[in-house]
C-alpha cells in the first residue's frame, strides 16, 4: 500500500439531515484526483479509505468508479473525534508512502486529521496546499500564507498532503467502471483503538475584539489599504525560527494567546 486517499462521507451543509445529499467534499475530490494521477505516474495502485458508518460506502464506490483499486471503511459513527479518526486510519495504512487528504471537512472544518495522520506515520506533511506538481519521487506543493505570500514545498515520501478543493477536478467515472464499482467489495474493518465522540466547540474561532485606531491616509484608497493590511502584505513582518517541536508548539500557543485567539 503506497498511495492512499482519505475521504469523508459528509452531509451537505444545506441539508444536514438528509443522507441523499451527502457525499465527498470538493477538497476530498481534489485529494482523490491527485492520488489517482500519482498512481498513474508511478504505476502504483491507489487505496481509498474512510471512517464512518455503512452510508459512507457511497463515497468509496465513487472513488472506485474513478479508478481507485481498493476501498477500506473503518466502522465508526459520523461523530467520531478527529484524533481517533486519524489514529484509526494511520493504523490501517502504516506502510503508505503518500497520503492525500482534503484540507478540512465540510462539517467540522478543523483540518486536524491530516496532521494527526502524519504524526502517527512519522511522515512529512504539506497542509492546506493550493497547487500541486507531481514529479515522480517528489511532489512540489504550494501553500497559502498570510499577507498573500506563498510557501513552496518539495515533499518526499512518506508524506501526508492535504489540498484545497479548487486544486483539482475529480475525473468523471466511466460507465463500465461505475457499474463494476457498484458491485465491488468494500473492506469493512473495525477501529483498532476506541473511537470517542467529537467534542464540539460552541464558540466560533475568532480573536477577541480589539480597538483599532482610525486608518490614516490621504485618499480613501490609502485608508482602505491600511484597513485591509494590503500595503503591509509585502513587508517581511514574520520571522523564521528553528526550534524543537515542543518549543515550537509552545511558541505557537504563546502567539495565539498574544493575538487574542486563546484566553489562557
Amino acid at each position: 500500500m503506497s498511495i492512499v486517499a482519505c475521504v469523508k462521507w459528509v452531509s451537505h451543509p444545506g441539508e444536514p439531515h438528509d443522507e441523499r445529499f451527502a457525499g465527498m467534499s470538493m477538497a476530498d475530490q481534489s485529494a482523490l484526483e491527485f492520488a489517482l494521477q500519482q498512481g498513474e505516474l508511478l504505476g502504483q495502485p491507489v487505496t481509498v479509505i474512510t471512517v464512518g458508518p455503512a452510508g459512507a460506502d457511497k463515497v468509496l464506490r465513487d472513488a472506485l468508479a474513478c479508478g481507485a483499486t481498493r476501498a477500506i471503511r473503518i466502522e465508526a459513527p459520523t461523530t467520531a473525534a478527529g484524533t481517533d479518526v486519524a489514529t484509526a486510519i494511520a493504523d490501517h495504512i502504516a506502510d503508505a508512502e503518500w497520503v492525500w487528504c482534503g484540507d478540512y471537512s465540510l462539517d467540522r472544518g478543523a483540518g486536524s486529521v491530516p496532521p494527526f495522520i502524519a504524526a502517527h506515520l512519522g511522515a512529512e506533511q504539506a497542509l492546506g496546499v493550493i497547487a500541486v506538481t507531481l514529479l515522480g519521487a517528489t511532489v512540489h506543493a504550494t501553500r497559502r500564507l498570510d499577507g498573500g505570500r506563498r510557501e513552496l514545498l518539495e515533499v518526499t515520501a512518506p508524506a501526508v498532503v492535504s489540498v484545497e478543493g479548487a486544486t483539482a477536478r475529480l475525473r468523471r467515472a466511466g460507465l463500465q467502471h461505475l457499474r463494476s464499482a457498484a458491485a465491488a467489495t468494500i473492506e469493512v474493518m473495525p477501529a483498532t483503538t476506541p473511537i470517542h465522540r467529537a467534542e464540539f466547540m460552541v464558540r466560533p474561532y475568532r480573536p477577541r475584539a480589539r480597538e483599532l485606531p482610525a486608518p490614516t491616509g490621504e485618499s480613501p484608497l490609502d485608508r482602505l489599504r491600511v484597513l485591509t493590511d494590503a500595503a503591509a502584505a509585502s513587508a517581511a513582518r514574520g520571522e523564521t525560527v528553528h526550534l524543537a517541536p515542543a518549543d515550537a508548539a509552545a511558541r505557537i500557543v504563546h502567539a495565539l494567546r498574544d493575538w487574542g485567539y486563546r484566553d489562557s
Partner: protein
C-alpha cells in the same frame, strides 16, 4: 452485432422508470436504471397529489411505507373571478383510512422510495448519468443508449424510455410525429412553509388529512388553472398555464401565482407563509392528441415521455399513469424477452395492456376534456357567469321577490356574451366526457 451488456435499460428513475425496473428485475432480468440526477427524484419539482392504487399489486400495503405528506380527505373545485369564489367542496373520512385514495407527496421523496424498491428487486441504479442518445443497429432497432460518461455506451436487448416530458429519446426515435407548444402547459409552483397546526386550522383537517383544491378562473388572460395542496407543514400553490397563451400575453408566470395568492379567497389561506421554493415544469396536457407511438423495435416509451398525463379539469393525474405504464412496459418486456422477440410485434403486449386498462381507456373517454377545459369560454366566460348566477341566487334583494334560476341564467349568459348554442355544445361535450 455487439453482445448486450444487460437485458433492459430503463432511462429515468421517475415513477414510470422505477416501476418498469421493479417488474423487469423481479422477473430475473438484468436491469440498469439510469438517472441523470444525483439521486432518483432530485430533478423533480412536483408537489401535488398522487393516486397510488395501481401499486396494490406491485407493493402490497404500500401506504405503510410510502413517503406521503397528507392523505387527501377534502377535494375542492373552485371557480374564481376577481372578487368572487364559488367552491364545490367534498370530504370523505374513508379517504383517510386504508386503502386510501390520494395523497400529497413530494416527488423527490416518492421517486427515491420507488427507486429503492427497484434496487431491492435487483436493478442497478446508476445516478449522475445522462443518456444523450440511442444506439441503433443497421435495421434501425434500438440496441442501447449512449451516456455522457466516458466509455458511456451501454447495450441492451430492450430500452424503456421514461425520460420525462421532453423525451429526447422518443423524439430521436421518431415516435412523435410532431410536437407543438399548444400541447403543453407550464406548471409553476411555490412551496410555502407554515406550521402544521396553522394548516390544520385553516383547512379544517387533522392529523395526516389534507386538502386538494383545483381552481379555475385564476390565471387572467392566460388559459390554465390553479391549485393549492396541503403538505404536512407546507403548502403547494401554483398555476398551470397554456404555453402559447402565456407567450402571447407576455406575462411572467410568477406574477400570475402572485395574483392567485392575493385573491380574497386564497390570501387568508397562505397568509404569513414563508416562501421556500419556486419551480417550474412542462406538462404534456393534450392527451391522445399528442401521444407518440408507444413501441418500436427494441424500445418502449412510458410515463410523461409518452404524454400519459390526464389533465381533464376535475381530474389532474399523471403519477398513477406513469406508474401503470411503467409496470405494463416492464411486463411487456418480460414477455418479449421470454419469447426472444424484441421487434415491434414482440413488444406489442405493451400497447395491448395500455389499451385494455385505465391508462388509455381514461384518455379515450376524456379525450375532449383537455381542449374543453382550456377553451376560451370555459376559461374566461363561464367562471364569471356561474359566479354571478350564484351571487344572485343567494342575494336577498328585498323588497324584490326572488328571481327564478332560469331567468338569472339567461340574463347572466347574455351579460357574459355566451351564445346559447355554444353553451349547449360545451355542455354536451362535457357530458360526453364526464358523464
Amino acid at each position: 452485432m455487439s453482445t448486450p451488456d444487460v437485458d433492459v435499460i430503463v432511462v429515468g428513475a421517475g415513477p414510470a422508470g422505477s416501476c418498469a425496473a421493479i417488474v423487469a428485475a423481479r422477473a430475473g432480468l438484468d436491469v440498469v436504471l439510469l438517472e441523470r440526477g444525483p439521486f432518483p427524484g432530485s430533478k423533480n419539482m412536483y408537489g401535488g397529489v398522487v393516486y397510488p392504487r395501481i401499486l396494490d399489486t406491485l407493493i402490497p400495503n404500500w401506504w405503510e411505507e410510502a413517503p406521503i405528506q397528507r392523505w387527501v380527505t377534502r377535494r375542492s373545485t373552485m371557480l374564481l373571478t376577481d372578487t368572487q369564489a364559488l367552491t364545490i367542496d367534498f370530504r370523505s373520512e374513508a379517504w383517510g383510512e386504508p386503502p386510501y385514495n390520494g395523497a400529497t407527496a413530494f416527488r423527490p421523496d416518492w421517486d427515491h422510495w420507488l427507486a429503492g424498491h427497484a434496487e431491492a428487486a435487483g436493478a442497478q441504479v446508476l445516478t449522475d448519468t445522462t443518456v444523450v442518445g440511442l444506439i441503433r443497429d443497421p435495421g434501425g432497432a434500438v440496441v442501447g443508449v449512449r451516456t455522457d460518461r466516458p466509455d458511456g455506451d451501454l447495450r441492451a436487448k430492450v430500452v424503456i424510455a421514461c425520460d420525462g416530458v421532453n423525451s429526447f429519446l422518443a423524439k430521436e426515435a421518431g415516435l412523435y410525429e410532431h410536437t407543438d407548444a399548444k400541447h403543453y402547459t407550464l406548471g409553476v409552483k411555490e412551496t410555502l412553509a407554515l406550521p402544521k397546526e396553522v394548516i390544520d386550522e385553516r383547512f379544517a383537517v387533522r392529523d395526516r388529512h389534507g386538502v386538494d383544491i383545483e381552481i379555475l378562473g385564476c390565471t387572467g388572460n392566460v388559459n390554465g388553472g390553479g391549485f393549492l395542496y396541503t403538505g404536512l407543514d407546507t403548502l403547494a400553490v401554483g398555476v398551470v398555464l397554456k404555453l402559447p397563451k402565456l407567450a402571447a400575453q407576455k406575462k411572467r408566470p410568477e406574477e400570475i401565482v402572485a395574483g392567485l395568492k392575493q385573491h380574497p379567497a386564497i390570501a387568508p389561506l397562505v397568509q404569513g407563509a414563508e416562501l421556500k421554493e419556486y419551480s417550474a415544469h412542462l406538462i404534456p396536457e393534450a392527451g391522445l392528441t399528442m401521444m407518440p407511438k408507444m413501441t418500436m423495435p427494441g424500445m418502449l416509451v412510458a410515463g410523461d415521455a409518452a404524454a400519459l398525463c390526464l389533465a381533464a379539469g376535475i381530474w389532474l393525474e399523471g403519477v398513477n399513469f406513469a406508474m401503470a405504464s411503467g409496470m405494463y412496459a416492464g411486463e411487456a418486456v418480460v414477455e418479449a424477452l421470454q419469447a426472444n422477440d424484441t421487434s415491434a410485434t414482440g413488444l406489442a403486449g405493451y400497447q395491448r395492456r395500455l389499451s385494455d386498462t385505465f391508462v388509455l381507456k381514461d384518455h379515450r373517454k376524456l379525450h375532449r376534456a383537455p381542449e374543453l377545459v382550456l377553451s376560451d369560454r370555459v376559461q374566461h366566460l363561464y367562471p364569471g357567469m356561474v359566479a354571478n348566477v350564484a351571487e344572485r341566487m343567494f342575494r336577498v334583494d328585498n323588497p324584490h321577490p326572488k328571481p327564478g334560476l332560469r331567468r338569472i341564467l339567461n340574463e347572466e349568459r347574455k351579460k357574459a356574451g355566451v351564445r346559447r348554442r355554444d353553451l349547449l355544445r360545451d355542455g354536451w361535450t362535457g357530458f360526453r366526457s364526464f358523464g
